[in-house]
Symmetry: C2
């Protein structure tokens, strides 16, 4: 929205300069759009959103955006004409999965004295993306307390460049309350990210309740730091209601020490390694596989997405090598350590096959020389050379290198005066940079907010506005690279989401007019679901 004073003159210390406004400011930038110079004044009392299909999920989204379109209240009553935003969706399917169409078009024009506002989409999820875009077309004038759509007529034809556009979070290192996870889901949807990669457990804690193994949460930080089954179901349903897949990660064999609080004896013994963060499970114990199978079975019911992340990163080989029991087991089986890893990963694949889940892992086993089945998705945290190797092997890749939000210097050698300007490095990091063949197997990427020094107190500020740059890189055309033009859009977009309670700071000197709601939602979701709605959303995915 344009409810916002842009100041172009002062760019002290900021390494790129916003270009003057010359059209609607939409983030991520649509694939194609045109605009004019007219204005449609809106009458909040006579503004409707109508859809051509019956869908609870779409109706939820419409109710949300009826509020989000007019963040500063109803404004002064005017005699502007009645306006209806007509949504036409081809399919009434409510199934959210990777590769679902998110395409949409928007047209905003005056026909005679009458505003014609239209969204056309293949799916309800495309319609959700369109509603977000539409909200960014509406401008608020604080002086007259009125809303309008400038730059009319507007025609937008939009679709994502990559189907997998994620934000990875980490509740293994710090517990983040359920309400805040829903807040995070909103922030994803606002920037058209469609995947919340939830790294649930790590060496430090296991915060997820398990139906069949209730003791597993003895590995949580404490009794108040646990996600109940109902909590997780609410998070998954909340994600679906915003068109955001929730991909769970229960990391094995490393980063799993917390599993052993309830089940001692399943870990490898790593003599001399005091950093328990990365301690792995033993590959030699049937009990370990049995435990994983039970946990994954329970979690598969809750996390209904077809993909399931089993981690697989940073296995400390020395720890397996130096454990006499494991070493002996490897000798008996004639396994090298890599073969032991292969054996472990094969058991995980079997478990996930049984649960009809597609495996996602970090690229490490592949890099170690394990064979990886072609239906796997490999998340590459290393570099483009590794991504190239992955896709050359015919395996799909999602990329995360260069997008580690926790790092002081996220891209080696790239530094700025101001820390927030690391968004420029994220923006420059194209997923296909350095990947020249089999590029169609790069299906997206993820912004990673590891949790060693992050919880709900500082999450928003560590993630936003910098992840806007990543969201645009994953959605918009690859030739959208002008940082000055991006700055002109990103800073108002940061203000736009701040008005919905996301603590996303500014990128250059200016003024962001905030609603009085800002603080109210800063640690909360804006729109809670009822228990009935959660149940219905789950049922809709069957």
């Amino acid at each position: 929205m344009l409810y916002y004073t842009l100041v172009f003159l002062f760019i002290s210390l900021v390494s790129c300069q916003p270009t003057p406004i010359s059209g609607p400011l939409i983030t991520p930038l649509p694939q194609t759009y045109t605009f004019g110079s007219g204005v449609i004044r809106l009458n909040t009392g006579f503004f409707d959103i109508a859809a051509n299909i019956e869908s609870d999920l779409l109706n939820n989204a419409i109710l949300r955006y009826q509020k989000l379109f007019f963040p500063f209240g109803v404004g002064y009553p005017t005699n502007n004409p009645i306006a209806t935003l007509n949504i036409k969706v081809s399919s009434d399917s409510e199934i959210l999965q990777l590769y679902v169409s998110e395409n949409y078009t928007i047209s905003v024009e005056m026909v005679g004295q009458s505003p014609q506002l239209e969204i056309i989409a293949d799916t309800i999820f495309g319609a959700m993306r369109a509603l977000e875009t539409f909200s960014q077309l509406i401008s608020y004038d604080a002086q007259s307390q009125s809303y309008s759509i400038p730059f009319v007529p507007i025609y937008i034809d939009d679709f994502p460049r990559f189907p997998w556009r994620g934000l990875q979070i980490d509740t293994g290192r710090h517990f983040i309350p359920t309400s805040f996870l829903m807040h995070i889901i909103e922030s994803c949807a606002y920037s058209k990210l469609n995947t919340l990669h939830w790294h649930v457990s790590d060496g430090e804690s296991f915060p997820a309740e398990s139906k069949s193994l209730p003791n597993i949460t003895l590995g949580a930080f404490g009794p108040l730091a646990i996600y109940t089954i109902a909590d997780m179901e609410e998070i998954v349903a909340y994600g679906l209601s915003w068109g955001v897949r929730v991909l769970p990660e229960f990391d094995v064999p490393a980063h799993s020490f917390s599993w052993s609080t309830a089940f001692p004896g399943i870990m490898a013994n790593c003599p001399g390694d005091s950093d328990l963060d990365g301690w792995p499970l033993s590959p030699a114990l049937p009990e370990a596989y049995d435990l994983i199978s039970k946990i994954y079975t329970d979690m598969s019911e809750i996390f209904i997405d077809k993909y399931f992340h089993s981690g697989g990163d940073e296995l400390p080989y020395a720890c397996w090598d130096n454990d006499p029991v494991i070493a002996n087991w490897m000798t008996q089986n004639n396994f090298s350590t890599t073969q032991a890893e292969q054996y472990f990963e094969d058991q995980i694949t079997n478990i996930l096959d049984g649960l009809q889940k597609t495996k996602v892992i970090w690229h490490d086993p592949f890099a170690n020389g394990c064979e990886v089945r072609k239906d796997t998705v490999l998340q590459v945290w290393d570099n483009a050379q590794m991504a190239q190797q992955v896709v050359n092997a015919g395996i799909r890749a999602i990329v995360s290198y260069d997008w580690y939000l926790d790092m002081q210097i996220p891209v080696p050698g790239h530094t700025h005066y101001e820390y927030e300007d690391t968004w420029l490095d994220f923006y420059a990091a194209d997923p296909l940079m350095g990947v020249t063949t089999n590029t169609e197997l790069v299906i997206g990427g993820e912004s990673c907010m590891w949790g060693e020094q992050v919880d709900h107190r500082n999450f928003d500020v560590r993630v936003w506005p910098r992840t806007i740059a990543i969201a645009e890189r994953l959605w918009s055309n690859e030739n959208v690279t002008d940082t000055n033009k991006a700055l002109t859009r990103f800073d108002p977009f940061s203000c736009h989401i701040s008005n919905r309670g996301i603590n996303s700071g500014p990128l250059y000197p200016d003024y962001c007019l905030l609603t009085s709601d800002f603080s109210q939602y800063s640690h909360q979701p804006r729109f809670k679901l009822t228990k009935e709605q959660i149940k219905n959303i789950y049922n809709s995915q069957k």
Copy 2:
């Protein structure tokens, strides 16, 4: 407080490790303290704080801490004995100024069955510091919902290493609402910082109302981005009520373009310089000095501290040299550019003398070769060599180099994996490192949060927990440098202030139990003053 689960085992990626808890966790670390192994259980219903003097300011502080001692509510009623914290203050003066004593002692012991709790301080401000320390001695047990003081008996004898311990903020680049400035003042007091250096105006905006020149706020970002006189008085009074001096900065001659919105024609003409952020006033125009005099006179009434910061940084000499009017004026007066700067600074000194204010400026005029009167305080942003030169000239210095919170790499060459670990660089930067003579003239320092990319949406997270390291460096003994021990205290302290609504994140994997109040105060002050109180506090300073 100890209401908090420490996890020592997992330190992945964090470059130092907390040491195990072996006594009270107080931040900043007191100068001397001893402790035992006893426990005093507290009964919140029978806990009093009593003072030996009548002081509205001290009474305010007592009322605040009666709440802050017990953040998780009253807990379960117990039959623990009545306890009174007795405060004995030598002076009932309410005057807050640089060099006021902040010394205090605390003793916590059992005499028979009776808790003896005592604070002794020279001044009410020392008593405020003691109350904050005392709040950190109280531990909350979530399971039994009860409070206690462990490690009894405790004896603390504490005083600050430096008298000037500041946080610098910048409302010239982004407007920060009055309520949030009061929130910032609280965060300063919690960490025993005693100075809020308020860089009010800059090239981008002039947000302060002036009694004699009401048009000056035409240079604000907009009509909603203005501090009224009442706002500023409230902020100053709020600071006093927490023992925090509010030092105003109205930066001249550079960083003043916003003055010219209401008063065009007072600026130097900088041909070819498109960055208006640093444009300076003209030194050749009597109108410019008249304007400054009026603004400074108005602001001196509001900002009652004896010190007044007039900026003086980053004067672009070329801009004065290349302006024909200024060049001509310099020729007529036989001035070099440095002499012109000297002339300008002398006029400022005269204005401030007339207002009975002591001048504070950045070190730039001194570095440029201007003579600086010995009663000035120079804020050094460059490096220790410059600080050494300043004190060698017999001038007091406050240091800020190495403490720029906005920078990606705050200390050149010092980098970490995680961004938050820049606290280690701040902690290592002793104000006397590289200053070997006249060290008594280094009177403190300031943590600087420049505002190009910061406003109230992201302020807390950009400042905290990293400024804890700076606050301790300025308060505690210079030999307190163990980063592992610091980590053991800083992380719980971050949780401690988070429970008061400061969004200060974690430093390593652990769990911070937060009160339900957390979000409520995250963009607000916790304790507002009435108009009557604001008036009384102003009167108390006469």
